[in-house]
Amino acid sequence: MSAADLVIGIPSKGRLQENTFAFFARAGMPLSQARGARDYRGQIDGMAGIEVAFLSASEIAAELARGAVHFGVTGEDLIAESIPARDEKIVMLTPLGFGHANVVVAVPEAWIDVRTMADIEEVAAAFHARHHRRMRVATKYLTLTRQHFARHGIADYRIVESLGATEGAPAAGTAELIVDITTTGATLAANGLKVIEDGTILKSEANLVAATGANWTHQAREAARQVLMRITAEETARRMREIRTRLPQPLKPLALGPFGATMPFGQPGGEVILHCPVGRVGPLSDWLIRQGAKAVTVSTLAYVFKSDNPLYERLTGGIG
């Protein structure tokens, strides 16, 4: 390990960590913790010049903002909450397809007269006038809450910072309503809370994020290029199927347009190899048969490496 290494912040526990491990493994980059699960440093097997730092998701957001890691896997909710002027500090490279959760405004179900933020505005003003104190919102999302409430013209409230079990605050009497993250809403319902209709502040999922302020040495850039190439190769492969066939006449590439398919290797010797989005495989195969193909085979792809690397271009666009 050296100071020139690429450092990747990876969640240190829970479902987010499992999913992140699975994601990197699929991309051919198995993560390992050198001395077992208690070690906070790790590596990618078979790739030199990369250091993995195991951190909590919120630490990852903070380390990205400081530029202490080059890449990090963390939720959009934490990025939006904790990194002011995020466009200057980070580049969102790609959503990862897991860790889906919404940051929502939730109120007691017994507030049968409250369905929208406009209701909350009225109720907050009446509450302030009646109790001579502001309605309290329990949350750990201070910034997101302030932005959302300001957007809806709500001023008569105050935030009570909550670092755990936020959904219990109304029942415990420490707040009147909450802003919290939820996946299915089951925990909210179990606590007698309901989500406000226009109260979804953010639909979040885990993202691969780059820090613009990290030490982007030549080696770090090169390691980043390789990591992003592999991620792109896996992602492209997952979305595509390979179709092979032979046709009596050469295939015109323009004819593939409606199917979103490509012919990556041309058609040397009359064999046609196509890459086609998963959802269009059926129509394309049918069309090929009608063009005179005797047989069409479809197979999954493990990786599709290409000379262009859009994720790396996005990275260099952000870090200069």
């Binding site: 002011p84 929208t116 009225e122 003003a125 009446a126 009646r130 201070l142 013209g153 001023a155 409230y157």
Partner: protein, 363 residues
Amino acid sequence: MSATPLACHTDLMALFARHGFDAGDVPILQPAEPFVELSGEDIRRRLFLVSEAGAEEMCLRPEFTIPAARAWLSASCAGQRAQAFIGPVFRQRADGSGEFIQAGLESFGRTDIEAADAELLALAIEAEALLGPARRTIRMGDVGLLAALTGAMNLPAAVVRRIRRNGGAGVSAAEPARTSGLSAYTGVLNALKGADPDEARAFVKDLLSIAGLKAVGGRTPAEIAERFLIRAEDDGAGLAAEQAALLARFRAISGDPDAVSAEVRALSADAGIDLDAALDRFDARTGFMAARGIDLSRLSASAAFARNLDYYTGFVFEFVAADAARPAIAGGRYDGLLRRLGAPADVPAIGCAIWLERFGDPA
């Protein structure tokens, strides 16, 4: 500021003292609660919070008004006091240091309202001249005019609140009714028209028990019932077209103070709305301003001018340079503040803040 900030501070304090504002002092470390409770989240995110083991949350003072008001309350709860402050205040800011020097003038308990308003503005103008060339626009208004107008128009409370928060902006013609949890209860609302609070409360309790809901969280069934009752009387449709037109006309009125007053008088006559009391106070203030030697043509008054917060209750003003986004001097009247801090009733209060750093090198 010049290279000798201390000299300019001394000159300012001497000026303030000549006008009856004694040198005041308040601790830098303040309880955070009053700032959060009075100014809400908008100020809270700018506070430098300090925690003390086992004690209430403290902060570095973000301004002088609330500390001065609390000091006045604990010292006397009565009588007049006019104080001037100068020193560091602390606010988290995206640009610039979080610590900067502010001067503040705070006057509590003076009952000759309009004269006090005019004197404070005159003093602010002198302070501006002392700090550099007087090249700023002075914007002014009177929150009392808007309050009188919305009061006389008999608007729903929610609409009044939005108008006040925005100085009349943001509430445009025929604002559509906003979707609400109450919309689902049209039948109920019709049935509740003219009902008394007990009936409404019993009704809401029934609704809750039918749905198997326990009242959880700080609102009681009585509070929910109250909202049903208010909505039953007012259909929540927002503004009628003629009301929106009246507000739009009001909002467009601007000019020197006398022109504004004349136009608002014309508007009130046309609409058959009595705003005489508020306008007489407005004119009395203008008279005191002229008597103080203020050049009225320098004042850019507007009927709907309001500084943010629902904190101000009357005269409001700010000095803004042509090239600046934010005022260099700003203040006004906040007669409700002391009651909200614990006084038994409203107390006349007026003051302003001077951002000394915004008197940079003259362009």
